[in-house]
Point group: C2
Chain length 255, copies 2
């Protein structure tokens, strides 16, 4: 059983309005890869967000009182804090430079996933632009998946990922923020193990495991490769969603 992940070479810098499906097809061709049934494409959040024009120019943002207060406490641009608050359901913790929030999309992440780095200015105003997450990453993934399936004639999965910190461990890991055509969670509860015992509590975050795997190939710095092709995902491609991977707040022991 083999799982193969290939970083698609030569993906161009993505601009608002670019057709990601077309860019992905070109990148697959450069890699000499034809999509086959069961393949998955994993996309960095940034290229999806940019293609959907989720760029915001900070000069257009008017911070409110709460944003000003938090910004002064943690030494962060109050306009950026304003955007972070607007994109979030709840602030969980703050520390210098970082606000840990529950994003409107339901997951916990730093700074609402709003990114300053690797965002070039649109219209030449560099440094003033930031990038919000896609408005509905499951829907974005679905749109891209369906378009690719129509063109290729095969059934695939598409996942959008971002880098998230963890509560107790150092370093970010790739995590699913939207998916379509593949499962997020695999429920093994009640299945017998090797010796006939019952596995009582195991659900596996296979979407996040694949997100982490693909993230390894994306790099974080200069020559990033924001699209990864996956072959050999060892579970059936039942359709899933981000929601499977989110722990309901009432089951969260650590807030």
């Amino acid at each position: 059983m083999t799982l193969t992940l290939t970083a698609l070479p030569g993906m161009p810098y993505v601009h608002p309005g670019d057709d990601l499906v077309e860019l992905l097809l070109q990148a697959l061709e450069r890699a000499n890869l034809n999509l086959v049934d069961g393949d998955i494409l994993v996309l960095a959040q940034k290229i999806v967000s940019k293609s959907e024009n989720r760029l915001v120019n900070l000069s257009t943002v008017q911070p409110g009182l709460r944003a000003e207060t938090i910004a002064s406490q943690i030494e962060k641009d109050p306009r950026l804090v304003e955007l972070i608050l607007a994109e979030s359901n709840e602030v969980l913790r703050t520390r210098p430079g970082t606000i840990v929030v529950e994003h409107k999309l339901g997951f916990v992440c730093a700074n609402a996933g709003i990114d300053h780095s690797n965002v070039a200015g649109e219209g030449g105003i560099e440094g003033e632009w930031v990038l919000l997450l896609p408005e509905d990453p499951d829907r974005s993934a679905s749109r891209i998946r369906v378009a690719l399936e129509i063109i290729s004639g095969v059934k695939i999965g598409v996942m959008i990922i971002d880098s998230h910190g963890r509560a107790w461990r150092q370093g970010t890991v790739g995590s699913a923020i939207g998916l379509s055509g593949l499962p997020g969670l695999l429920d093994l509860r009640g299945q017998p193990d090797l010796f006939g015992y019952t596995l009582r509590v195991t659900t596996v975050g296979v979407g996040d495991e694949l997100a982490a795997a693909a993230s390894l190939l994306m790099g974080q710095a200069a020559e990033g490769t924001p699209a990864v092709h996956v072959r050999g995902f060892p579970y059936p491609l039942v359709d899933g969603s981000l929601k499977e991977l989110l722990r309901p707040k009432e089951m969260d022991l650590f807030r």
Copy 2:
């Protein structure tokens, strides 16, 4: 750039005292894989723990008062609770059936990683045996790595993983609990991004990302494949340790 993970077929059930290095070499041969420089082997905790005889018969455990108290609160075998406490630095949270602890090894996990399922009785007393984690998984990984390097004449990495829950997300993911010959954490702080901005805060948990990737291929149930061969890890194999991946308690915002 391609990352290839192969579940090694036909690994036998491991017993205390078994020579894992020999079993891995046989499994690599069955898979027609020769180790080359830069390869990594990822091993499920269970086979390492069993080979190191970390089995405990519950009938030999005498629960103390604290274990009895917690056990009655969460409806768990008091002998198992006693072992969990003995293997842990600190209890973080409890809920029915589960104790979230900081393990003596430094990471946060459920039930100190002590496993009831997939543990066959030694000497025929089934159901009474549980399996503790390796005493020093970094050292276990190092021992296996060095032995394989001497035999094969190439430089490789070895990682031991377990399935961990997350604070805010559903489903377990494979996580590093010991490693040797590969980095746990990649420090990108200060490196410029695509547009010359400085990446200010990014460290990437590449060890955990690889652990999650390998875990995808191990399965959790009946026909588990507890050893995965990795080719194409996209970072230099500098020697690392579990400690890189552990967030110091004083930097932990969520206890």
